[in-house]
Point group: C2
């Protein structure tokens, strides 16, 4: 199955425009059009930009045009911020101009009632008449990493990366971008689908499924038309790349709110969740989980099963992690005898000889690596939760104290620091290498490193409860892929 | 019910010692004893400190003594870090010296097997013979805000405050302190109860229950002796102040791990959860939730019921918040007609006229306050989730853009900034005042403010799913207090 070429071409133009007109650009910085326009300019967009405004001659140093028809160049995308009543005329002009795709930020359409719905039908039919695609109306905008296009109402500068995102709520979707930024998760493309007068959720999904820049697809959705191609598209895409969706409107109260927000249909929520599962879609339980799942999938292989090995430096952490794994549906397996025997050679005689492997407050990096290797080699272990990988803050404290104790020179302390840095560096490399060698996700749990570069290489989740949920969902998804592939 | 005076006196000495001996202090900064000692000194402890070491004459600038018996002053608390085999003798000396309380950091007792268990019995009986209380052995230490005592193995400097904490895992407990620091949550007292050879979980709980410095009690526990007074103490304390416990060993895998960690008994997990609930203990589902719950309880009144009103600036946020509330067991009520009529006067005609109250991308601070007031006045609403209180990052972006647009002078922009700051300041004050006036918790959901001082005054939770769980647990606890008080 593949996306229709005509649609693909239009969406290519939408996400990689060589030129863009901002219709309704203004000089008043408090207007949404200015907020978006200013973000396009400061975001480093590589194409040409043409502000369109009836009265102004110049905006932000760029010559402004009274109509898009006056723009002395081809325009691929028009971003429209003019009042709702004028949008039809503006779209006519865009069609005349040969624009390929429209981003209609203007609100006041189907979300405000029947009259707005009629207006929406009208503008969509004008756009379609000219063979243009339309994002929105009432969209919060789009983002695309390749041309450096940040065309968003929300104050967020996404990191460029490999994750695509489509959201039926602009606020929720841009919150994912914001969370991604705090977690070193980069995005390839984003669309706030708005009222979906023309382009609908599954159009973006299908396009991202074929998009080589997008390795993981995320989304927030409230509902789809019952007769839509969503399920077959989702299933087809999920076989090739992970699709993570956070679904709003799960409860009666949420559905009521969704009905007034996007007009999503109520009544079949459990069914819908079941449909998502059958389609191989990973169902997230919060925006935060969407982001952590995407980041883990980006950095780690898919597991072969749900049997978890737990490594920890502290007993209590082991207990709550075992609980969290069991509650998430992972199997906290009995380790093989060879594994236990291998660990016996490293750990003190009184170690608990079980899973979790409790290193009993041992702070050594090399012992940690040795234990991790042995657990990773266990053929009965599919995934590993590695707690306490970072001893950075503990060691920083020790180095500071060392200075105070006076027995060591500042050179000696610096040497200790450097050797700890090297040990941590080696540990991070080993974790990554082990996870590749054995094709098992090794998810680190603990406080983030103080060093940004380390955090960007190693996926580290602060709370074991969240980490367990993520591994369990990855295992479920891997099972879906296996089951379908074994049928083929 | 009240704590025995003799025990209270000893615990008073433990948490407010006028003097402290560090037995096994060393000059090697890599030793745990040095780590703890160094932290005591840098933590600003107000009492006198006496390092005890067989060989050294001076440690960290303080005169060292070969035995605690040589210390030329009264010693209230002895922190013991010497090898397990020497601890009995050291405790004898402490008893002779008239020490009141011991913190035995040394490990190698019941956690390592039968022989260690016998050794533990022995040292405990020596301590009891001298009428001393003993924390641990195998404790990660204690913290007490009043004397500025940071006697912890873990690299954390807790903020002083009103929350007490006792943990059957040093790692888990000190992680709560760490999380507290990141969330402006201060602690009054903390104990890592270690192997609980002498003082047990419920001793600390009872003491904190009577402690005027502690308004909220938190804890991590894996198990208690079936015959213990835990349940009656918990119930008694919970009637006076919130008791929030995170329970490890909920699953079979977790229980197995707990058995080898603290020796907690298995087999009655569901029963235990039920017991906690009947005792009015708030059961948390993660360390993070413990901290967020404590902070919310510190800043907000208890609700009168579970009927929630939701205020949001964006439709999608409203949907996921309504879902989260319903799933957490809150009732997303229909707002009263007067409330809707009041909101009609502020919001555009097409607003959804329901709960969540969607302000439809209105960024005004004064409109937000007006809407919040109207929702807070609704007699059918017990608790409020207020999303989007912070527009700070959006406005920062706008101010920057305003500079770029050039139409405004830097003075004008500064004026805009100041007036936005004043509006936010007023909003925060209004939220706090409204929640007091109507005796309803108003929990803000959104990205934290960029301003630290604002964050310290207003409880702001990033994800609505977490906020809903917290409000639901507060409502449950309030119900427990009401039901017991109405019986009396």
């Amino acid at each position: 199955m593949s996306i229709k070429l005509s649609l693909k071409k239009k969406l290519d133009a939408l996400f990689n425009p060589r030129s863009l007109a901002m219709i309704g650009a203004s000089r008043d910085p408090m207007k949404w059009s200015s907020i978006v326009f200013s973000r396009i300019l400061s975001g480093g967009y590589s194409g040409r930009v043409f502000p369109v405004n009836l009265k102004e001659k110049e905006i932000l140093g760029l010559p402004a045009y009274a109509s898009i028809l006056d723009v002395p160049d081809k325009v691929d995308v028009a971003v429209i911020c003019t009042p709702a009543s004028t949008v039809g005329k503006v779209i006519h002009d865009c069609g005349q101009k040969g624009v390929e795709a429209l981003v209609v930020i203007t609100s006041g359409f189907s979300e405000v009632g029947r009259e707005g719905a009629l207006l929406e039908e009208e503008i969509v039919s004008i756009a379609r008449g000219y063979n243009m695609v339309l994002v929105g109306p009432n969209t919060m905008g789009i983002y695309s990493a390749e041309p450096g296009l940040n065309c968003l109402m929300a104050p967020v500068s996404p990191l460029p990366g490999k994750v695509a995102c489509v959201s039926q709520s602009g606020n929720v979707g841009t919150h994912m971008l914001f969370l991604g930024r705090t977690r070193a998760l980069g995005f390839s493309k984003f669309a706030s689908s708005g009222n979906e007068g023309d382009l609908v959720f599954e159009d973006y999904l299908e396009y991202f499924g074929d998009d080589e820049e997008s390795e993981i697809i995320t989304g927030y959705m409230e509902g789809v038309d019952p007769g839509s191609r969503f399920v077959e598209i989702a299933r087809d895409v999920a076989l090739r790349k992970p699709v993570i969706i956070y679904k709003g409107g799960r409860s009666e109260a949420g559905t009521r709110a969704a009905a007034s927000h996007t007009g999503a249909l109520a009544g079949s929520l459990d069914i819908f969740q079941g449909v998502l599962r059958q389609a191989g879609v990973i169902s997230a339980s919060s925006n935060k989980e969407v982001v952590e799942l995407a980041r883990t999938l980006e950095l780690q292989p898919l597991p072969l099963g749900n049997r978890v090995g737990i490594l920890t430096r502290g007993g209590g952490w082991g207990v709550i992690t075992a609980d969290a794994c069991a509650e998430a549906g992972l199997e906290v397996v009995r380790l093989k005898d060879e594994t236990l025997a291998g660990l016996d050679r490293i750990l003190p005689s009184y170690w608990s000889r079980g899973n979790p492997v409790d290193m009993v407050a041992n702070l050594s990096e090399s012992a940690y690596i040795d234990c991790l290797k042995i657990v990773a080699q266990d053929p009965g272990v599919d995934v590993i939760l590695a707690l306490g990988a970072s001893t950075e803050d503990q060691m920083q404290d020790i180095f500071q104290a060392a200075g105070r104790f006076g027995g060591l020179s500042s050179e000696e302390i610096q040497q200790m620091q450097e050797s700890h840095e090297q040990a941590t560096e080696k540990m991070i490399e080993t974790i990554i290498a082990l996870s590749r060698e054995f094709n098992k996700p090794i998810l680190s749990v603990g406080r983030p490193f103080l060093t940004h570069e380390w955090n960007s290489r190693l996926q580290m989740i602060t709370e074991p409860e969240e980490a367990a949920q993520i591994l369990a969902k990855m295992a479920d998804y891997a099972k879906f892929r296996q089951s379908i592939n074994s049928m083929v």
